[in-house]
Protein backbone atom coordinates (compact mmCIF):
# COMPACT_ATOMS: atom_id res chain seq x y z
CA UNK A 1 0.00 0.00 0.00
CA UNK A 2 1.35 3.45 -0.71
CA UNK A 3 1.09 6.41 1.64
CA UNK A 4 1.36 10.02 0.55
CA UNK A 5 1.35 12.88 3.00
CA UNK A 6 1.07 16.45 1.80
CA UNK A 7 1.90 19.48 3.87
CA UNK A 8 0.70 18.00 7.17
CA UNK A 9 0.46 20.31 10.17
CA UNK A 10 -0.72 19.40 13.65
CA UNK A 11 -1.07 21.70 16.63
CA UNK A 12 -1.67 20.47 20.17
CA UNK A 13 -3.68 22.63 22.57
CA UNK A 14 -4.44 25.16 19.92
CA UNK A 15 -5.26 28.57 21.33
CA UNK A 16 -3.90 27.79 24.80
CA UNK A 17 -0.79 29.37 26.23
CA UNK A 18 1.11 26.11 25.82
CA UNK A 19 0.02 25.37 22.27
CA UNK A 20 2.64 23.32 20.43
CA UNK A 21 3.15 22.91 16.72
CA UNK A 22 3.96 19.20 16.64
CA UNK A 23 4.04 18.82 12.87
CA UNK A 24 4.90 21.68 10.62
CA UNK A 25 4.24 21.19 6.92
CA UNK A 26 5.41 17.59 6.61
CA UNK A 27 5.31 15.97 3.16
CA UNK A 28 6.45 12.46 2.37
CA UNK A 29 5.78 9.42 0.23
CA UNK A 30 6.05 5.79 1.24
CA UNK A 31 5.97 3.22 -1.55
CA UNK A 32 4.13 -0.07 -1.52
CA UNK A 33 5.89 -2.73 0.62
CA UNK A 34 8.55 -0.28 1.76
CA UNK A 35 10.19 -0.78 5.16
CA UNK A 36 10.72 2.68 6.63
CA UNK A 37 12.51 3.84 9.77
CA UNK A 38 11.33 7.07 11.39
CA UNK A 39 14.00 8.54 13.65
CA UNK A 40 14.04 11.57 15.92
CA UNK A 41 14.12 12.86 19.48
CA UNK A 42 11.20 12.78 21.83
CA UNK A 43 9.06 15.72 20.80
CA UNK A 44 10.29 15.69 17.21
CA UNK A 45 6.83 14.73 15.94
CA UNK A 46 7.36 11.02 15.17
CA UNK A 47 4.44 9.69 17.20
CA UNK A 48 2.16 12.54 16.14
CA UNK A 49 2.96 11.75 12.52
CA UNK A 50 2.13 8.06 12.71
CA UNK A 51 -1.06 8.65 14.65
CA UNK A 52 -2.34 10.57 11.63
CA UNK A 53 -1.74 7.65 9.31
CA UNK A 54 -4.55 5.58 10.77
CA UNK A 55 -6.78 8.50 11.58
CA UNK A 56 -6.34 8.68 15.37
CA UNK A 57 -5.35 12.32 15.06
CA UNK A 58 -6.85 14.82 12.67
CA UNK A 59 -4.52 17.30 11.05
CA UNK A 60 -4.84 21.04 11.39
CA UNK A 61 -3.85 21.25 7.77
CA UNK A 62 -2.72 18.96 4.98
CA UNK A 63 -3.81 15.71 3.40
CA UNK A 64 -3.03 12.02 3.87
CA UNK A 65 -3.56 9.60 1.01
CA UNK A 66 -3.61 5.88 1.59
CA UNK A 67 -3.61 4.24 -1.84
CA UNK A 68 -5.06 7.44 -3.31
CA UNK A 69 -7.89 7.66 -0.75
CA UNK A 70 -7.70 10.91 1.17
CA UNK A 71 -8.40 9.87 4.77
CA UNK A 72 -8.74 13.46 5.96
CA UNK A 73 -11.90 13.92 3.90
CA UNK A 74 -15.27 14.08 5.59
CA UNK A 75 -17.32 10.90 5.40
CA UNK A 76 -14.35 8.56 5.32
CA UNK A 77 -15.03 5.45 7.37
CA UNK A 78 -12.09 5.34 9.73
CA UNK A 79 -12.82 1.77 10.81
CA UNK A 80 -11.93 0.69 7.26
CA UNK A 81 -8.66 2.61 7.43
CA UNK A 82 -7.79 1.07 10.78
CA UNK A 83 -8.30 -2.45 9.47
CA UNK A 84 -5.72 -1.73 6.82
CA UNK A 85 -3.30 0.34 8.90
CA UNK A 86 -2.33 -1.42 12.12
CA UNK A 87 -0.69 0.63 14.85
CA UNK A 88 1.33 -0.91 17.65
CA UNK A 89 1.69 1.70 20.38
CA UNK A 90 4.62 2.13 22.74
CA UNK A 91 4.59 -0.47 25.50
CA UNK A 92 1.73 -2.35 23.81
CA UNK A 93 1.86 -5.03 26.51
CA UNK A 94 0.01 -2.62 28.81
CA UNK A 95 -3.00 -3.20 26.59
CA UNK A 96 -3.14 -6.95 27.12
CA UNK A 97 -6.27 -7.84 29.05
CA UNK A 98 -7.50 -11.37 28.35
CA UNK A 99 -6.70 -14.37 30.51
CA UNK A 100 -5.10 -16.37 27.73
CA UNK A 101 -2.73 -15.45 24.91
CA UNK A 102 -5.10 -16.96 22.38
CA UNK A 103 -8.11 -14.91 23.50
CA UNK A 104 -6.10 -11.73 23.58
CA UNK A 105 -4.90 -12.12 20.01
CA UNK A 106 -8.38 -13.21 18.87
CA UNK A 107 -10.00 -10.02 20.17
CA UNK A 108 -9.31 -7.88 17.08
CA UNK A 109 -10.25 -10.40 14.38
CA UNK A 110 -13.38 -11.43 16.35
CA UNK A 111 -14.52 -7.82 16.39
CA UNK A 112 -14.08 -7.72 12.64
CA UNK A 113 -16.93 -10.27 12.49
CA UNK A 114 -14.86 -13.17 11.22
CA UNK A 115 -16.00 -16.75 11.73
CA UNK A 116 -14.49 -18.70 14.65
CA UNK A 117 -12.54 -20.87 12.19
CA UNK A 118 -11.11 -17.82 10.46
CA UNK A 119 -10.25 -16.21 13.81
CA UNK A 120 -8.50 -19.38 14.90
CA UNK A 121 -6.50 -19.45 11.70
CA UNK A 122 -5.46 -15.82 12.17
CA UNK A 123 -4.40 -16.41 15.76
CA UNK A 124 -2.21 -19.35 14.75
CA UNK A 125 -0.76 -17.47 11.82
CA UNK A 126 0.14 -14.37 13.81
CA UNK A 127 1.62 -16.36 16.68
CA UNK A 128 3.81 -18.11 14.14
CA UNK A 129 4.85 -14.76 12.67
CA UNK A 130 5.92 -13.32 16.01
CA UNK A 131 7.70 -16.51 16.99
CA UNK A 132 5.46 -17.82 19.78
CA UNK A 133 4.75 -21.57 19.49
CA UNK A 134 0.96 -22.07 19.54
CA UNK A 135 1.03 -25.25 21.58
CA UNK A 136 3.25 -23.74 24.22
CA UNK A 137 1.72 -20.28 24.60
CA UNK A 138 -1.92 -20.21 23.40
CA UNK A 139 -3.40 -21.33 26.72
CA UNK A 140 -1.10 -19.36 29.01
CA UNK A 141 -1.90 -16.10 30.72
CA UNK A 142 -0.16 -13.23 28.93
CA UNK A 143 0.64 -11.75 32.32
CA UNK A 144 3.01 -14.50 33.36
CA UNK A 145 5.23 -14.14 30.28
CA UNK A 146 8.51 -12.25 30.06
CA UNK A 147 8.57 -8.64 28.87
CA UNK A 148 9.69 -9.56 25.38
CA UNK A 149 7.10 -12.33 25.08
CA UNK A 150 4.27 -10.08 26.28
CA UNK A 151 5.23 -7.55 23.69
CA UNK A 152 5.12 -10.19 20.97
CA UNK A 153 1.62 -11.21 22.07
CA UNK A 154 0.51 -7.58 21.76
CA UNK A 155 2.09 -7.29 18.31
CA UNK A 156 0.42 -10.55 17.24
CA UNK A 157 -2.93 -9.02 18.23
CA UNK A 158 -2.40 -6.30 15.62
CA UNK A 159 -0.95 -8.62 12.97
CA UNK A 160 -4.02 -10.85 13.34
CA UNK A 161 -6.02 -8.06 11.67
CA UNK A 162 -3.78 -8.60 8.63
CA UNK A 163 -3.00 -4.92 8.14
CA UNK A 164 -1.42 -3.80 4.90
CA UNK A 165 0.57 -1.19 6.79
CA UNK A 166 2.06 -2.02 10.16
CA UNK A 167 3.25 0.91 12.25
CA UNK A 168 5.38 0.21 15.30
CA UNK A 169 6.10 2.95 17.83
CA UNK A 170 9.37 2.14 19.62
CA UNK A 171 8.82 -1.62 19.68
CA UNK A 172 12.08 -2.34 21.51
CA UNK A 173 11.85 0.28 24.27
CA UNK A 174 12.61 -1.09 27.72
CA UNK A 175 13.66 -4.56 26.58
CA UNK A 176 16.92 -6.25 27.47
CA UNK A 177 19.57 -6.67 24.73
CA UNK A 178 18.49 -10.22 23.85
CA UNK A 179 14.74 -9.45 23.66
CA UNK A 180 15.64 -6.31 21.72
CA UNK A 181 17.50 -8.32 19.09
CA UNK A 182 14.67 -10.86 18.92
CA UNK A 183 12.08 -8.16 18.15
CA UNK A 184 14.26 -6.63 15.42
CA UNK A 185 14.76 -10.05 13.81
CA UNK A 186 11.04 -10.69 14.08
CA UNK A 187 10.32 -7.48 12.17
CA UNK A 188 12.65 -8.47 9.36
CA UNK A 189 10.99 -11.86 9.09
CA UNK A 190 7.55 -10.32 9.24
CA UNK A 191 8.36 -7.94 6.42
CA UNK A 192 9.70 -10.76 4.28
CA UNK A 193 6.74 -13.04 4.87
CA UNK A 194 3.79 -10.65 4.77
CA UNK A 195 5.20 -8.02 2.41
CA UNK A 196 3.25 -5.37 4.28
CA UNK A 197 4.61 -1.86 4.68
CA UNK A 198 6.36 -1.49 7.99
CA UNK A 199 6.94 1.90 9.58
CA UNK A 200 9.35 1.55 12.47
CA UNK A 201 9.61 4.49 14.85
CA UNK A 202 12.76 4.60 16.95
CA UNK A 203 15.29 6.88 18.59
CA UNK A 204 17.90 4.30 17.87
CA UNK A 205 19.38 4.63 14.42
CA UNK A 206 21.57 1.63 15.11
CA UNK A 207 18.44 -0.54 15.04
CA UNK A 208 16.91 0.66 11.85
CA UNK A 209 20.07 1.22 9.83
CA UNK A 210 20.65 -2.32 8.75
CA UNK A 211 17.08 -3.38 8.11
CA UNK A 212 15.07 -0.59 6.49
CA UNK A 213 14.81 0.60 2.89
CA UNK A 214 14.42 4.23 3.83
CA UNK A 215 15.03 6.46 6.84
CA UNK A 216 13.05 9.58 7.65
CA UNK A 217 14.67 11.84 10.25
CA UNK A 218 12.25 14.14 12.08
CA UNK A 219 13.33 17.22 13.99
CA UNK A 220 11.17 19.94 15.57
CA UNK A 221 8.05 18.84 13.71
CA UNK A 222 9.72 18.87 10.32
CA UNK A 223 11.45 16.35 8.11
CA UNK A 224 15.15 16.93 8.71
CA UNK A 225 16.30 14.52 6.06
CA UNK A 226 15.17 11.37 4.29
CA UNK A 227 16.76 8.76 2.06
CA UNK A 228 18.40 5.36 2.04
CA UNK A 229 20.48 4.51 5.11
CA UNK A 230 23.66 5.17 3.10
CA UNK A 231 22.41 8.62 2.10
CA UNK A 232 21.45 9.49 5.66
CA UNK A 233 24.87 8.47 6.93
CA UNK A 234 26.58 11.00 4.75
CA UNK A 235 24.95 13.59 6.97
CA UNK A 236 26.65 12.38 10.12
CA UNK A 237 27.80 15.76 11.35
CA UNK A 238 24.41 17.39 10.81
CA UNK A 239 22.76 14.54 12.71
CA UNK A 240 25.22 14.88 15.57
CA UNK A 241 24.57 18.63 15.62
CA UNK A 242 20.90 18.06 16.49
CA UNK A 243 21.99 15.58 19.16
CA UNK A 244 20.66 12.51 17.43
CA UNK A 245 22.12 9.21 18.50
CA UNK A 246 24.05 7.82 15.53
CA UNK A 247 25.44 4.28 15.26
CA UNK A 248 28.37 3.77 17.61
CA UNK A 249 30.84 2.95 14.85
CA UNK A 250 30.09 6.29 13.24
CA UNK A 251 30.48 8.11 16.52
CA UNK A 252 33.82 6.42 17.10
CA UNK A 253 35.09 7.45 13.66
CA UNK A 254 34.16 11.00 14.56
CA UNK A 255 36.24 10.73 17.73
CA UNK A 256 39.22 9.58 15.66
CA UNK A 257 38.73 12.45 13.22
CA UNK A 258 38.57 14.88 16.13
CA UNK A 259 42.02 13.60 17.10
CA UNK A 260 43.35 14.40 13.65
CA UNK A 261 43.30 10.83 12.36
CA UNK A 262 41.86 10.54 8.87
CA UNK A 263 39.43 7.66 8.43
CA UNK A 264 36.88 6.47 5.88
CA UNK A 265 33.65 8.46 6.29
CA UNK A 266 31.41 5.56 5.35
CA UNK A 267 32.24 3.35 8.34
CA UNK A 268 28.87 2.43 9.88
CA UNK A 269 29.17 -1.01 11.43
CA UNK A 270 31.42 -2.78 13.90
CA UNK A 271 32.84 -4.97 11.12
CA UNK A 272 33.81 -1.97 9.04
CA UNK A 273 35.32 -0.25 12.06
CA UNK A 274 37.48 -3.29 12.82
CA UNK A 275 38.78 -3.33 9.23
CA UNK A 276 39.46 0.38 9.16
CA UNK A 277 41.32 0.49 12.45
CA UNK A 278 43.33 -2.62 11.71
CA UNK A 279 44.53 -0.89 8.53
CA UNK A 280 45.39 2.27 10.48
CA UNK A 281 47.36 0.46 13.16
CA UNK A 282 49.20 -1.87 10.78
CA UNK A 283 50.27 1.10 8.73
CA UNK A 284 51.57 2.79 11.87
CA UNK A 285 53.65 -0.07 13.19
Amino acid sequence: MSIRIENLTHIYNKGLSYETVALDGVSLTIEDKEFVGIIGHTGSGKSTLIQHINGILKPENGRIFINDTDITEKGIKLSDIRKRVGLVFQYPEYQLFEDTVEKDIAFGPSNMGLSPEEVDERVRESMELVGLAYDEFAGRSPFELSGGQKRRVAIAGVIAMRPEVLIMDEPTAGLDPKAHKDIIEMLVKLHKMTECNILLVSHNMEDVAEIVDKIIVMHSGKIFSQGSPAEIYKERDRLLDIGLEVPQAMLFMKKLEDRGISVGKDVMTMDEAVEEIEKLLRKGS
Binding site: D176, P177, G243, E245, A273
Partner: protein, 281 residues
Protein backbone atom coordinates in the same frame (compact mmCIF):
# COMPACT_ATOMS: atom_id res chain seq x y z
CA UNK B 1 35.44 -0.64 53.83
CA UNK B 2 32.18 -0.54 55.66
CA UNK B 3 29.18 -1.96 53.88
CA UNK B 4 25.80 -0.25 53.83
CA UNK B 5 23.88 -3.23 52.44
CA UNK B 6 24.78 -6.77 53.39
CA UNK B 7 22.98 -9.54 51.56
CA UNK B 8 23.56 -12.99 52.99
CA UNK B 9 22.62 -16.13 51.11
CA UNK B 10 19.28 -14.71 50.01
CA UNK B 11 16.68 -16.73 48.15
CA UNK B 12 13.37 -15.36 46.93
CA UNK B 13 10.37 -17.30 45.61
CA UNK B 14 7.40 -15.94 43.71
CA UNK B 15 4.37 -18.04 44.54
CA UNK B 16 2.10 -18.70 41.60
CA UNK B 17 -1.47 -18.51 42.77
CA UNK B 18 -3.97 -20.87 41.19
CA UNK B 19 -1.25 -22.61 39.26
CA UNK B 20 -0.14 -26.18 39.65
CA UNK B 21 3.41 -25.38 38.72
CA UNK B 22 5.71 -24.78 41.63
CA UNK B 23 7.00 -21.44 42.83
CA UNK B 24 9.54 -19.54 40.74
CA UNK B 25 12.92 -19.12 42.37
CA UNK B 26 13.88 -15.55 41.42
CA UNK B 27 16.92 -15.30 43.70
CA UNK B 28 19.00 -18.36 44.31
CA UNK B 29 21.54 -17.94 47.08
CA UNK B 30 22.73 -14.34 46.60
CA UNK B 31 25.45 -12.94 48.83
CA UNK B 32 26.59 -9.40 48.16
CA UNK B 33 28.02 -6.51 50.16
CA UNK B 34 27.54 -2.98 48.92
CA UNK B 35 30.24 -0.64 50.22
CA UNK B 36 29.39 2.81 51.53
CA UNK B 37 29.95 5.49 48.89
CA UNK B 38 30.44 3.02 46.06
CA UNK B 39 28.80 2.94 42.62
CA UNK B 40 27.69 -0.59 41.81
CA UNK B 41 25.97 -1.55 38.56
CA UNK B 42 23.86 -4.68 38.24
CA UNK B 43 23.30 -6.11 34.78
CA UNK B 44 21.51 -9.20 33.49
CA UNK B 45 18.72 -10.12 31.08
CA UNK B 46 15.05 -9.79 31.99
CA UNK B 47 14.11 -12.43 34.50
CA UNK B 48 17.64 -12.77 35.86
CA UNK B 49 16.52 -11.45 39.25
CA UNK B 50 17.88 -7.89 39.19
CA UNK B 51 14.68 -6.10 40.14
CA UNK B 52 13.78 -8.69 42.75
CA UNK B 53 17.20 -8.18 44.29
CA UNK B 54 16.71 -4.39 44.23
CA UNK B 55 13.37 -4.66 46.01
CA UNK B 56 14.96 -6.86 48.64
CA UNK B 57 17.50 -4.13 49.36
CA UNK B 58 15.05 -1.85 51.15
CA UNK B 59 12.49 -4.25 52.46
CA UNK B 60 9.92 -3.75 49.70
CA UNK B 61 10.28 -7.50 49.43
CA UNK B 62 11.57 -9.75 52.16
CA UNK B 63 13.78 -12.72 51.40
CA UNK B 64 12.26 -16.20 51.46
CA UNK B 65 15.56 -17.44 52.83
CA UNK B 66 18.69 -15.65 54.06
CA UNK B 67 19.05 -12.12 55.42
CA UNK B 68 19.42 -8.56 54.20
CA UNK B 69 20.97 -6.00 56.54
CA UNK B 70 20.94 -2.26 55.95
CA UNK B 71 23.44 -0.50 58.21
CA UNK B 72 23.19 -3.55 60.42
CA UNK B 73 19.36 -3.48 60.57
CA UNK B 74 17.61 -6.68 59.50
CA UNK B 75 15.05 -5.72 56.81
CA UNK B 76 12.74 -8.45 58.12
CA UNK B 77 12.54 -6.66 61.47
CA UNK B 78 9.35 -4.60 61.17
CA UNK B 79 10.33 -2.12 63.86
CA UNK B 80 13.24 -0.88 61.74
CA UNK B 81 11.58 -0.86 58.32
CA UNK B 82 11.12 2.93 58.12
CA UNK B 83 14.76 3.50 58.96
CA UNK B 84 15.70 0.98 56.29
CA UNK B 85 13.56 2.70 53.66
CA UNK B 86 14.85 6.11 54.60
CA UNK B 87 18.41 4.88 54.30
CA UNK B 88 17.86 3.20 50.93
CA UNK B 89 15.80 5.24 48.44
CA UNK B 90 14.51 3.73 45.23
CA UNK B 91 13.90 5.10 41.76
CA UNK B 92 11.94 2.98 39.28
CA UNK B 93 11.62 2.66 35.54
CA UNK B 94 8.47 4.61 34.80
CA UNK B 95 8.52 8.22 36.03
CA UNK B 96 4.77 8.56 35.50
CA UNK B 97 4.14 5.97 38.20
CA UNK B 98 6.21 7.90 40.71
CA UNK B 99 4.46 11.29 40.58
CA UNK B 100 1.91 12.05 43.25
CA UNK B 101 1.27 15.75 42.85
CA UNK B 102 0.21 18.29 40.22
CA UNK B 103 3.05 20.69 41.03
CA UNK B 104 6.71 19.72 40.92
CA UNK B 105 7.70 21.15 44.30
CA UNK B 106 4.70 19.58 46.06
CA UNK B 107 5.76 16.28 44.63
CA UNK B 108 9.23 16.64 46.13
CA UNK B 109 7.77 17.72 49.48
CA UNK B 110 5.58 14.63 49.70
CA UNK B 111 8.30 12.35 51.08
CA UNK B 112 9.71 14.63 53.79
CA UNK B 113 6.17 15.68 54.78
CA UNK B 114 5.34 12.06 55.43
CA UNK B 115 8.41 11.76 57.60
CA UNK B 116 7.07 14.59 59.74
CA UNK B 117 9.87 16.98 58.84
CA UNK B 118 9.06 20.58 59.84
CA UNK B 119 7.96 23.00 57.11
CA UNK B 120 11.10 25.19 56.99
CA UNK B 121 13.29 22.15 56.70
CA UNK B 122 10.99 20.76 53.97
CA UNK B 123 11.38 24.00 52.00
CA UNK B 124 15.15 23.76 52.33
CA UNK B 125 15.20 20.13 51.23
CA UNK B 126 12.89 20.72 48.27
CA UNK B 127 15.15 23.50 46.97
CA UNK B 128 18.30 21.51 47.61
CA UNK B 129 16.92 18.42 45.85
CA UNK B 130 15.67 20.33 42.83
CA UNK B 131 19.04 22.03 42.51
CA UNK B 132 20.79 18.67 42.79
CA UNK B 133 18.93 17.39 39.72
CA UNK B 134 19.08 20.70 37.84
CA UNK B 135 15.31 21.22 37.91
CA UNK B 136 14.96 24.17 40.30
CA UNK B 137 13.58 26.43 37.56
CA UNK B 138 10.76 23.97 37.00
CA UNK B 139 9.57 23.90 40.62
CA UNK B 140 6.18 25.51 39.86
CA UNK B 141 5.48 23.44 36.74
CA UNK B 142 3.09 20.53 36.36
CA UNK B 143 4.96 17.21 36.08
CA UNK B 144 2.86 16.00 33.14
CA UNK B 145 4.12 18.90 31.02
CA UNK B 146 7.73 17.78 31.38
CA UNK B 147 9.74 15.43 29.19
CA UNK B 148 10.46 11.87 30.31
CA UNK B 149 14.01 12.73 31.34
CA UNK B 150 12.82 15.74 33.31
CA UNK B 151 10.11 13.70 35.04
CA UNK B 152 12.64 11.09 35.99
CA UNK B 153 14.88 13.82 37.47
CA UNK B 154 11.89 14.98 39.53
CA UNK B 155 11.40 11.41 40.74
CA UNK B 156 15.08 11.36 41.74
CA UNK B 157 14.73 14.71 43.54
CA UNK B 158 11.78 13.25 45.47
CA UNK B 159 14.07 10.52 46.74
CA UNK B 160 17.00 12.87 47.39
CA UNK B 161 14.71 14.99 49.61
CA UNK B 162 14.40 12.03 51.98
CA UNK B 163 18.19 12.30 52.52
CA UNK B 164 18.91 8.63 51.87
CA UNK B 165 22.47 7.36 52.19
CA UNK B 166 22.00 5.08 49.23
CA UNK B 167 19.80 5.18 46.13
CA UNK B 168 18.87 2.07 44.19
CA UNK B 169 17.94 2.83 40.57
CA UNK B 170 15.93 0.12 38.84
CA UNK B 171 16.35 0.75 35.10
CA UNK B 172 15.83 4.50 35.46
CA UNK B 173 16.57 5.18 31.80
CA UNK B 174 14.73 2.30 30.14
CA UNK B 175 11.81 4.47 29.04
CA UNK B 176 13.83 7.53 28.07
CA UNK B 177 15.24 8.76 24.79
CA UNK B 178 19.00 9.22 24.37
CA UNK B 179 18.95 12.78 25.63
CA UNK B 180 16.84 11.88 28.67
CA UNK B 181 19.17 8.97 29.38
CA UNK B 182 22.19 11.23 29.40
CA UNK B 183 20.47 13.75 31.70
CA UNK B 184 19.53 11.08 34.21
CA UNK B 185 22.88 9.33 34.08
CA UNK B 186 24.73 12.61 34.70
CA UNK B 187 22.63 13.12 37.83
CA UNK B 188 23.28 9.57 39.02
CA UNK B 189 27.03 10.03 38.64
CA UNK B 190 26.93 13.44 40.30
CA UNK B 191 25.02 12.09 43.31
CA UNK B 192 27.79 9.54 43.74
CA UNK B 193 30.84 11.71 43.07
CA UNK B 194 29.71 15.00 44.59
CA UNK B 195 27.16 14.10 47.25
CA UNK B 196 28.82 10.84 48.25
CA UNK B 197 25.63 8.78 47.93
CA UNK B 198 26.01 5.04 47.56
CA UNK B 199 24.57 4.10 44.17
CA UNK B 200 23.18 0.81 42.92
CA UNK B 201 22.23 1.08 39.25
CA UNK B 202 20.31 -1.63 37.44
CA UNK B 203 20.37 -1.21 33.68
CA UNK B 204 20.46 -2.86 30.27
CA UNK B 205 22.63 -0.17 28.75
CA UNK B 206 26.26 -1.23 28.92
CA UNK B 207 27.60 2.22 28.14
CA UNK B 208 25.97 3.42 31.38
CA UNK B 209 27.99 1.09 33.56
CA UNK B 210 31.48 1.61 32.17
CA UNK B 211 32.09 4.30 34.81
CA UNK B 212 30.85 2.25 37.77
CA UNK B 213 33.27 1.08 40.48
CA UNK B 214 31.94 -2.43 40.24
CA UNK B 215 29.70 -4.50 38.00
CA UNK B 216 27.63 -7.43 39.22
CA UNK B 217 26.27 -9.71 36.49
CA UNK B 218 23.19 -11.79 37.27
CA UNK B 219 21.76 -14.79 35.49
CA UNK B 220 19.04 -17.19 36.61
CA UNK B 221 18.83 -15.66 40.08
CA UNK B 222 22.55 -16.04 40.75
CA UNK B 223 25.55 -13.75 40.62
CA UNK B 224 27.72 -15.05 37.78
CA UNK B 225 30.36 -12.30 37.57
CA UNK B 226 31.48 -9.57 39.93
CA UNK B 227 34.34 -7.16 39.36
CA UNK B 228 35.59 -3.86 38.01
CA UNK B 229 34.22 -2.83 34.57
CA UNK B 230 37.60 -3.60 32.98
CA UNK B 231 37.55 -7.10 34.45
CA UNK B 232 33.98 -7.77 33.32
CA UNK B 233 34.07 -6.40 29.80
CA UNK B 234 37.14 -8.33 28.64
CA UNK B 235 34.92 -11.39 29.03
CA UNK B 236 32.77 -10.33 26.10
CA UNK B 237 32.12 -13.84 24.79
CA UNK B 238 30.70 -14.96 28.13
CA UNK B 239 28.55 -11.83 28.40
CA UNK B 240 27.13 -12.45 24.95
CA UNK B 241 26.25 -16.00 25.88
CA UNK B 242 24.24 -14.52 28.75
CA UNK B 243 22.34 -12.38 26.23
CA UNK B 244 24.16 -9.18 27.23
CA UNK B 245 26.03 -6.60 25.22
CA UNK B 246 29.47 -5.14 25.70
CA UNK B 247 30.26 -1.41 25.33
CA UNK B 248 31.26 -0.58 21.77
CA UNK B 249 34.90 0.24 22.55
CA UNK B 250 35.39 -2.92 24.62
CA UNK B 251 33.94 -5.02 21.80
CA UNK B 252 36.04 -3.26 19.17
CA UNK B 253 39.20 -3.69 21.27
CA UNK B 254 38.39 -7.36 21.71
CA UNK B 255 37.89 -7.88 17.96
CA UNK B 256 41.18 -6.14 17.22
CA UNK B 257 43.00 -8.32 19.75
CA UNK B 258 41.60 -11.39 17.99
CA UNK B 259 43.37 -10.14 14.88
CA UNK B 260 46.64 -10.05 16.72
CA UNK B 261 46.68 -6.33 17.48
CA UNK B 262 47.92 -5.49 20.94
CA UNK B 263 45.37 -3.36 22.83
CA UNK B 264 45.60 -3.05 26.61
CA UNK B 265 42.85 -5.00 28.39
CA UNK B 266 41.80 -2.07 30.56
CA UNK B 267 40.40 -0.11 27.61
CA UNK B 268 36.60 -0.01 27.65
CA UNK B 269 35.68 3.58 26.78
CA UNK B 270 35.61 5.14 23.29
CA UNK B 271 37.86 8.02 24.33
CA UNK B 272 40.44 5.65 25.82
CA UNK B 273 40.51 3.57 22.65
CA UNK B 274 40.67 6.62 20.39
CA UNK B 275 43.61 7.97 22.42
CA UNK B 276 45.37 4.63 22.20
CA UNK B 277 44.92 4.48 18.43
CA UNK B 278 46.21 8.00 18.05
CA UNK B 279 49.39 7.08 19.90
CA UNK B 280 49.99 4.01 17.80
CA UNK B 281 49.17 4.98 14.25
Amino acid sequence: MESIIRIQDVTFEYKRTGSETSAILALDGISLDIEKGSFTAIIGVNGSGKSTLAKNMNGLMLPTGGKVYVNGMDTADESGIWDVRQTIGMVFQNPDNQMVSAVVEDDIAFGPENLGVDPEEIRRRVDMSLQAVGMYDFRKKAPHMLSGGQKQRIAIAGVVAMLPECIVFDEPTAMLDPQGRREVLDIVEKLNKESGKTIVLITHFMDEVANADRIVVMDGGKIVMDGKPQEIFVRSDELKKLGLDVPFAAELACRLRQRGIDIPENIILMDELADHIKEHC
